[in-house]
Amino acid sequence: VSVDWRKARIAKNEASFRDINERLEQGLRQVRDLPDALQFVCECGDRECRALISLSIGEYRAVRRDSRRFAVVPGHAIPDAERVVQGNERYEVVEKIGGAVEIADSSDQRAPGPRGRRSDEAAP
């Protein structure tokens, strides 16, 4: 078993919330006069979380440049499943660690296939 069920569930939930935010962002692209701060669903793995986070389009796209990364409400990181790589008072960016990376990579719609994107790679 490469990753225990709980961590896999957390990663799967986060990937699902990422998919939702991806659809939301695609829709927002069609809207004129977007405000600077847009609301997205918190991508944390806590099933009880119903919070929204506020990011600009640029900030959101920066998070999406790495398949392992998710945007969450500050304090919503799950320490044994991910680490916080950056943050501010509005949101934190967590990066999956361990076996959950495979789930995060393989479920990233922006990088089809088992290999995910990495923020330090050149943009295609």
């Binding site: 569930r9 799967k12 939930n13 939301l24 809207v31 006069d33 977007l34 099933r47 009880e48």
Partner: protein, 775 residues
């Protein structure tokens, strides 16, 4: 008209006409100038201009010039007239587009105004068309005071004047229309709802319409002349505006011309508002003039902003709904997993409990092994085998179960043909050596081939379809006693962590049960051997008597002691029969039983008196420091004779024997009763006597026959008596068999105490017993 002008005079007329017309900006002025110059040249007292009414197609009087007031009568007639093409001189020119004249009005019947003209002293007239490239505009006419035909020079001058006036009227018409158009445009611009601002190439405002005044808060008069950028463009956009304007002025690069732009406008009060702007160049005049059309789109922007907000809200709501669905799915999945885990745990617990019950049902060693492997198939594995380590170090598969009976045969063939090597590097041998659990997953066909000892070995391995194996050692405190091997193949399953945990638990229980079964088997063997040693191997044959006995131990077969009986020859023609009941069970009871039995055997050979012998046993027990137990004993001395059997007996605390008469009556022999044997020092025992008549039977029994777990304390004894009564005259063997059967049935097949029966029947006259009846 009296003289024709020379060519030179004609040129001078042409120059004068050009100069005069250049100063004439109205039709009236132009007509005045042309009529005057030509009339003076021709010495004509009156000239008139008739213009074509394009709607009616008629020539109407427009203007005249006269030298004196004496011509007014004719001049007043003109405005009241209109000439259709071909009517009179004027209508003729309109029709032919050629100059024409009337040499003598007095003689021309076709001249409508002849009477008035003649009345004011006019006799001749010459007319020329006003023709320009745009078409026919009218006719000019000049009257003379004398009748005469115009000269060529006069015709040339009139014709030239007509052309020049026609051309000038054409220009005046264009300018008039242009002016009217400009006035109209200005009116439209000022009435327009959109802001219209014109500016020159330097960016200064040329015009500022009413909508612009209202939108930007400037008076038109204040705006005109100001730089547009400083006036209505927010500071941050001014530079780009200037660059775009300069680019156009410099190289006619239309950066923004013709494009629809959305930007911010700056009001006089400093506030901004969204505007839509289109800039265009007006005409092609140089330097260029630009017009900006601006529309306040605040409302539109607000509406768009509201639509955008609603759209965003809708998208976010959808995202939140999707997130809620994810959460619900996750919760359901976790609940299902929890339920599945709980179900698996319940199944495991149930499996282990069932396996434990199955194992507990039998303490038989071989049966336990079989139960263990059967319990694991197919719940845990496709097949399971149990290997034990024998004392000589050999490994032996002692039990095997496969989900497929045919494969089970094959598996047995495999283990029997290829015994386990105790030094093997894997499998049961390794588990037994190391005490460690071994899991081998995904055994490939190549691995099978490599492990095969020979083609037959390979064939069996391949047919058994071994894919995954798990071997668990059977550990006991005394060491590893064997191993359980589990194999998966046919089912396509794999060993999951839960399976490994389950197998660990099963193996631990199995090891315990195997160990217990081993010990129990050994102990049972010991107990059976000991129990047998406490009873006679065979009953003696007593002449004139039948003897039959039964012994039925209660409960665990490992328990020894309890009831006992004996019958033996104790002297010449004398036999002794004993039935006793030792308190307690186990080794101490067995020891007391042996003491009682052997003491009484010895005593019976020394003394005839049963009471004395019981007293002797009483002392022997009390003196035995190893026991605090006691017993009941019915000691019977038998002397068979011709008339029956003389019986002397002593009862040490034992149930009274029953005498079955031939008529079926049953009598309890209460005489000879004394205390428990071994309980009281100095105890005294009594002796009783009777004679068994032929056919009569004396039954000696222990309390296990009558002590029944019921509130009816007398039930057991009543059943016993009725059983005896029903078997009057029956053989001793028949009687003890019936008593035993009824006693067992009365206690639901499981007597709670030992049952010992010993029956002595005096043979009928002429018959005698010559054999023994085994217990």
């Amino acid at each position: 008209v009296s003289s024709a002008p020379s060519d030179q005079a004609g040129h001078r007329l042409a120059h004068r006409l050009v100069r005069a017309l250049s100063a004439a900006h109205t039709v009236e002025a132009a007509a005045e100038a042309v009529l005057r110059e030509v009339a003076q040249t021709l010495d004509s007292p009156l000239g008139a201009l008739w213009l074509l009414d394009e709607q009616s197609g008629l020539l109407r009087w427009e203007h005249d010039w006269a030298t004196d007031a004496g011509l007014d009568q004719l001049r007043r007639v003109g405005p009241r007239l209109a000439f259709a093409p071909g009517v009179g001189l004027i209508g003729g020119v309109l029709e032919t587009l050629e100059p024409a004249w009337v040499e003598d009005i007095a003689t021309d019947p076709e001249f409508p105004r002849a009477e008035v003209a003649l009345s004011v002293g006019l006799r001749s007239v010459v007319a020329a068309p006003l023709v320009s490239p745009d078409g026919m505009r009218g006719v000019i006419e000049f009257f003379g005071r004398h009748a005469h035909e115009p000269t060529t020079a006069e015709m040339r001058d009139v014709t030239m004047a007509g052309r020049q006036l026609a051309a000038h009227l054409g220009r005046l018409g264009v300018e008039e229309r242009l002016r009217a158009s400009e006035e109209s445009s200005a009116s439209i611009a000022h009435a327009a709802l959109d802001c219209i601002i014109t500016m020159d190439q330097s960016g200064r405002v040329l015009d500022f319409n009413r909508a612009a005044e209202e939108a930007f808060g400037y008076e038109r008069s204040a705006a005109i002349g100001e730089l547009l950028a400083d006036l209505i463009i927010p500071p941050q956009f001014r530079e780009s505006h200037r660059r775009a304007l300069a680019a156009y002025v410099r190289d006619r690069r239309p950066t923004i011309l013709g494009k629809r732009l959305e930007l911010l406008g700056l009001r006089a009060d400093g506030s901004t508002f969204p505007v839509e702007l289109t800039v265009t160049r007006l005409g092609s005049r140089e330097p260029p003039v630009f017009a900006g059309f601006l529309r306040d789109i605040s409302d539109r922007r607000e509406l768009e902003g509201e639509q955008s907000r609603l759209l965003r809200d809708a998208m976010l709501a959808r995202a939140e709904a999707e997130a809620a669905q994810v959460r619900a799915d996750d919760a359901r999945e976790e609940a299902e997993r929890a339920r599945a885990d709980a179900e698996r745990a319940r199944e495991r617990a149930a499996f282990l409990a069932q396996a434990g019950r199955d194992m507990a049902e039998s303490m038989d060693w071989e049966g336990t092994l079989e139960t263990i492997v059967r319990s694991a198939v197919p719940a845990v594995a496709d097949w399971c085998s149990l290997t034990v380590a024998e004392p000589n170090g050999r490994l032996r598969v002692v039990a095997l179960a496969h989900r497929d009976p045919e494969r089970e045969k094959l598996a047995w063939e495999f283990v029997e043909r290829y015994p386990l090597d105790p030094d093997a590097g894997s499998g049961a041998a390794k588990a037994i050596r190391t005490g460690a659990l071994e899991v081998i997953a995904d055994i490939s066909p190549d691995t099978i081939r490599a492990a095969a000892q020979d083609p037959e070995h390979l064939r069996l391995l391949q047919n058994l379809n071994v894919r995954h194996t798990l071997v668990a050692p059977l550990k006991t405190p005394a060491g590893v006693i064997g191993a359980l091997s589990f194999v998966l193949g046919d089912s396509g399953r794999r060993f999951a962590p839960d399976d490994i945990q389950l197998i660990g638990s099963l193996s631990a229980r199995a090891a315990l049960h195997i160990q217990n079964a081993r010990l129990y088997t050994e102990r049972s063997h010991i107990a059976r051997t000991l129990q047998a040693s406490l009873r006679p191997r065979a009953l003696p044959a007593i002449p004139g008597a039948e003897v039959a006995a039964r012994f039925l131990p209660a409960g665990d077969q490992n328990e020894v002691g309890g009831d006992f009986y004996d019958a033996f020859l104790s002297g010449d023609g004398v036999w002794t029969a004993i039935v006793g009941d030792v308190s307690g069970k186990g080794a101490e009871a067995a020891a007391l039983t042996a003491l009682a039995r052997h003491t009484l055997r010895a005593a019976s050979m020394l003394h005839d008196d049963p009471a004395v012998n019981l007293a002797l046993l009483n002392r022997a027990i009390l003196r035995d420091s190893q026991t605090r137990d006691f017993c009941t004993v019915l000691y019977v001395r038998l002397c068979p004779g011709e008339a029956g059997i003389d019986v002397r007996f002593s009862n040490g605390g034992h149930p009274a024997p029953l005498l079955l008469r031939n008529d079926g009556t049953v009598e309890a022999i209460e005489s000879g009763r004394g205390p428990l044997v071994g309980a009281l020092p100095g105890a005294r025992f009594e002796e009783g006597k009777l004679r068994l008549q032929p056919g009569e039977l004396l039954l000696m029994y222990t309390d296990g026959v009558t002590e029944i777990r019921t509130s009816d304390l007398g039930l057991g004894e009543r059943v016993l008596r009725s059983t005896l009564s029903a078997h009057a005259g029956a053989s001793a063997e028949t009687v003890v068999a019936a008593v035993e059967r009824n006693a067992v049935e009365l206690q639901a097949g499981a007597p709670r105490d030992d049952i010992a029966l010993l029956a002595i029947r005096a043979c009928d006259a002429g018959t005698g017993a010559d054999g023994t009846v085994g217990a």
